[in-house]
Every structure is written in C-alpha cells, then in structure tokens.
C-alpha cells in the first residue's frame, strides 16, 4: 500500500510500517485443527455413562451457546471415571474427549496441575517440563486463535467446578483465589 492509496488505513499508518497480523503470515488453520484434534472430534472418548456419579458440573459458553456436562466417579483421593457430554465446536469437543482420556486415575492435585498446564499452553506460556499433557499438546495451536481459547477451556473449567463441588476438592486443599477466566 502506498501512502496515497485511498485504501491505505491512513497516510500515517501506511508510513509507519504497520501491518495487520493476518497479512504477515498465512493463517495456521492446520495448526488449529491438527490431526489429533480432528481424530478426537470425530471419535470423542468418554461419552459412556458412569455406573456411579459422585460429582458433576454444567459448563456453558454464553458467547457461542456451547454446553458441556462433566460427570465424575471419585475414589478417596483420585478420579476413578469421567463422562463428558454436550454440544460444542471441534475444539471444545476434542478438548473434552482428551480430558476424558487423561483425567481418570489422577489425584486432585494432579488434576489441578494439568488444568494449569493446559491454561499455560493456551496462553502461549511455557508448560512445566515435567507435566505430560498427552494429546492435549495437540491443542497448542489454539494459542494463536484467542477467541477459541474459551472453546478449549470449557470442558476443563467445568471439570474444575465438578471437583470443587465435592469434598475431595476441598480436602486436597487446593486453594485458588476465585475462578479465573481462561
């Protein structure tokens, strides 16, 4: 764009070397929808009902109307089983499916570490090297699509609510001030 091009945002902007992010690079659509993400989206895990439900929570994204229901079967200190259901986009569905695969067997502290690590990933922060995100790492591309971060987090904030609603969540003494936005 030249400065006298009537389409230039303004003569000053054009001269300043200002460029929109989307003009700098091809958008990494395939980076958002990686193969592992599409696989989880097409074949979501953890849809089967649990024999016993000890805690559950309902998550809703008012921006797009997506809904997630997380149900948990809990042992004394850890998660024995997870069911994730709901209606959401590919990112939300894949994230919920990965959750259902990763969370069973974890104790409450591990669950919260995983949630924090996933948040870091989505914010583009460094993930603690000892933390194994499993297939969740495949959602790393979401960091470049800020409006989709909420889609990826919805099953996880719902999980957080479910755990906190139960004594096991308090007993583990995991203290976090208020519920943070993803």
């Amino acid at each position: 764009m030249s400065a006298d091009d009537p389409r230039s945002p303004s003569p000053r902007l054009a001269g300043s070397g200002f460029r929109f992010a989307s003009e700098q690079s091809g958008a990494p659509l395939d980076d958002l929808y990686r193969e592992v993400v599409l696989d989880h989206q097409r074949h979501p895990r953890g849809r089967e009902p649990l024999a016993r439900v000890d805690a559950s929570a309902h998550g809703f994204n008012p921006v797009c109307g997506d809904e997630v229901e997380v149900r948990l079967a809990l042992d004394a200190e850890s998660v024995a089983g997870v069911q994730v259901t709901g209606r959401g986009c590919a990112i939300c569905t894949a994230s919920g499916s990965m959750l259902a695969e990763l969370v069973p067997g974890l104790d409450v502290a591990e669950v919260f570490r995983l949630i924090e690590g996933f948040r870091d990933l989505l914010r583009g922060n460094e993930v603690p090297p000892e933390l194994d995100l499993g297939d969740l790492a495949g959602l790393g591309g979401v960091a470049r699509f800020p409006v989709r971060v909420k889609c990826a987090m919805l099953p996880w904030v719902t999980l957080e609510d479910a755990v906190r609603s139960h004594a096991i969540g308090h007993a583990a003494g995991v203290a976090r001030a208020g519920k943070e936005e993803p």
Partner: protein
C-alpha cells in the same frame, strides 16, 4: 451538508453512480477502505453487515475533519468552533429526521446506539407502568429489545408476554391478537430479525396494538439501513436504530418518536445539557430532545453520520432493497441447493431482508466460520444475541451471512465455496 461550515468537503458525491435499480456493488467497494484488505491472502469478503457495516471514505473524512477543524463542545459556547460543532451535530438530527420521515427534528433523540434508545424507552416511558400492565414483545427479538423489558418487569412488576415464532420463521399474528388486551401498554417488536431476516409487518402490528391503546416500539436496527422507512406512516410511537449498521460511526444511535410520546419520556440520565435551571436541591428539565441527551455526546460521530446518509440518498433505499433482495434470493438458492444445510427463516426473499442464517448438522458454526475466515470470508457464528430464538430453532448457534450495498454475487459464491471447503476439511 455542512456547507454552512465553510469547510471544503472532499470525496463526497464523487464516485460511480449506479443506474437506477442496478447498483454497482463492486465500484462501491472502492469507497470503503477496509474492503480493500487481504485476509489470509484472500480478498476480504465481508458478510457480517448485520453486526456492523464498513464505513466509506466520506464518513472517515468527516470524522477526521471534525477533530481537525471544528472540534468543540456542543450547545455551550458562542465561539466559532462551538457554533460549527453545534451546527454539525444538529445537522445530523435534521438529516435523520428527513431520512426516516419524521416531520420535526425534535422527534430525533441522539443516543449511543439502538440499545440505548430501547433502554431509554423502557426506563423513561416505562416509568409510567406498574403491576397489572403488560408489555408484549416477541420470541425473535435481539436481547436489546428483551432485556430492557425484563428489567422493567423486575423493577415495576410489569407482566411480559411474547409473540411466538412460527416454523416458517414469521411472527404468529393470530397468537399476537390473542395476547392483546386493555392491559397491553407496550408492543415492542423488531422490524427485521437479525437472525431469520424476517421482515415483520410493522404497520399491521402497530394498527392492532393501537386498537388496544398500546404504545408501539420498533427496533429498526436491522431494517432502517436496508429497507425504505417512513416514520409518519409506520404507525410506531418509537423507532430505534444505530448509525454503525448504516455505514456510519460507532457510538451514535437514534430514538425517533412521536412528539407527544417523547414528551412522556422521563429523563433517565441527569447532567449537563438536559436541564434548564439547576439549584442545589432541584432542577427543571430542558425541552425536547435535549432533555433526553445528558452530557457531551459523540459529536464527531454525529457530525459524520450525514455522510453515510448521503450514500443512501445517492443510491436510494429502493434500489438498495432491490439489490439486497436479489442477493438474498441468490444466496437462498445456492445454499439450499448444497443439500447439507439447514437454512432458517422465510423462503420467500420478498419477506426477508438481506441476510441468511444456516447450520450444517455436521459442522459447528464456529468451525465453519474459522474455515471461512481462512478464505477471507467474514461471517458471524453464534447466537446473535437472540438466545430465546435459538432455543425456538433448536440450535445453540448458527452461521449468519449478511449483505450490504457493496456485497455482490461473487461474495455469495465465495461463501458457498468456503462452506464446501469446510465440508472437505472436516471430512464429512
């Protein structure tokens, strides 16, 4: 316009003039700088005009001209700049009155947007209501024409009633007739649905409402920029709309009202400009419309909006409507023939404005919109601030493509290509 300011006006009235009835969308795009952008390497195909339209150079120039040359506050100075700013601001009011067919400029209250205009009616006129009174609105309203009435119901014990939407996406007028009674004090309805595109028969609705003595509030946010309007014959008591959906700046909207109804509106905001005389413990109000406009308004925005109205006057709302109806007919045709979409709203293009909402049962609207964006096609995916209507449709979200004067058949083709690409991408 603004000739009285003695300011030379660049880029106005110039450019291509479409032949009557055939609007040259492609040539018009040249006047909208943002439409010249490349998005992800593709020409921007902007199909989110129901959310907000782009702004032509004439409007951008007018905003800049205001700040560069005439910047001053309105209605409170005798110096030259203050006079110019006041004249520009009041010119906006006069031009809007002329545009919507209101005989008197005092009928036009300048607000921040349609939402504020609707809230002003619900609070300011709604202050007359109480328990036993009923407000009738509809299942297809934008939250802006639902929530202010919900707030009124909470505060004043008013009862809310809702006109249902038929399976064809129209208002059920027989049900509406049954809802009306002597208790009905307000009928608040959108002239055009921002989700279904449905054009509601406002004159007929207004006539029915007036027979029971109800005040008629029309949400014109979607209709005013796309359909010819004549406030004098519409039958409405109040009409709300936003400048930013009509090629104008954000932060400027309008409440047009019958003078006798506006006289009944209690001020909702107190402060400068809306008063006549203030003592420490009491005050008297200014006359209309200033009584309802407290504080410093968006002067630059108001000063620039007439440049958007110039565009409508140049093109004519009739030809604009013909153009957009042609586009929606083409879009309905192409989208339905894809065979995999659920297309919402009336099938007859004559009964709908220039927008179309749809869902692919296999692909979430967010994902469709993401693929479309990758191809430079901007659409809206979500509930469109109409959650009750979404529930009625049995959807959590839809994709919406909405047209403007600069949209054309190529844009519809790009949308359809993108939707097919999304099918391939997600392998369904």
């Amino acid at each position: 316009m603004n000739a009285d300011l003695g300011v030379e006006i660049r880029g106005q009235g110039s450019g291509e003039r479409g032949d009557a009835g055939s609007l040259d969308a492609r040539a018009l795009r040249g006047r909208f700088p943002a439409l010249g952008r490349l998005i992800n390497g593709h020409r921007l195909v902007y199909l989110d005009n129901a959310a907000t339209t782009h702004k032509p150079l004439a409007v951008l120039d007018a905003i800049e001209r205001h700040y560069r040359l005439s910047n001053a506050n309105v209605h409170r100075g005798v110096h030259t700049l203050a006079e110019e700013a006041t004249a520009a601001y009041e010119t906006c009011r006069h031009r809007v009155a002329r545009f919507v067919g209101a005989a008197d400029a005092r009928q036009v209250v300048i607000t921040r947007n349609a939402t504020e205009a609707l809230n002003l009616v619900a609070r300011g006129w709604g202050a007359r209501l109480g328990p036993g009174d009923e407000v009738v609105t509809t299942e297809m309203e934008h939250h802006s024409n639902l929530v202010p009435w919900i707030m009124l119901a909470r505060e004043r014990g008013v009862t809310l009633r809702h006109v249902p939407v038929t399976d064809d996406g129209e208002l059920d007028l027989a049900a509406f007739a049954r809802l009306l009674s002597a208790r009905t004090r307000v009928v608040a309805v959108t002239a055009m649905s921002n989700v279904l595109g449905t054009i509601n028969p406002v004159p007929e609705i207004a006539e029915m409402a007036r027979r029971v003595g109800a005040v008629v509030v029309v949400d014109g946010a979607q209709s005013v920029p796309h359909l010819p309007v004549d406030f004098a014959t519409l039958g409405a008591d109040f009409l709300a709309f936003s400048a930013h959906k009509a090629y104008g700046p954000t932060g400027v909207g309008f409440l047009v009202g019958r003078l006798e109804r506006l006289e009944e509106v209690e001020p909702v905001w107190g402060g400068g400009e809306m008063i006549r005389e203030v003592h420490l413990d009491r005050a008297t109000w200014n006359g209309l419309p200033h009584r309802l406009e407290a504080g410093t308004p968006n002067i630059a925005g108001a000063a620039a909006f007439p440049s958007a109205l110039d565009l409508f006057e140049e093109l004519g709302l009739g030809p604009v409507r013909v153009h957009e109806q042609g586009l929606v007919a083409y879009a309905l045709d192409r989208l339905s023939s894809l065979g995999f979409l659920r297309v919402h709203g009336p099938l007859d293009p004559a009964r709908r404005g220039g927008l179309v909402s749809f869902t692919d049962p296999d692909i979430h609207p967010h994902d469709q919109a993401q693929v479309l964006d990758n191809l430079g096609v901007a659409v809206r995916a979500g509930h469109h601030c109409a959650q009750p209507l979404m529930r009625r449709l049995g959807e959590t979200a839809t994709v919406r493509a909405s047209f403007g004067v600069y949209s054309d058949h190529d844009d519809v083709d790009a949308l359809v290509d993108g939707l097919m690409a999304a099918r391939r991408y997600f392998g369904s």
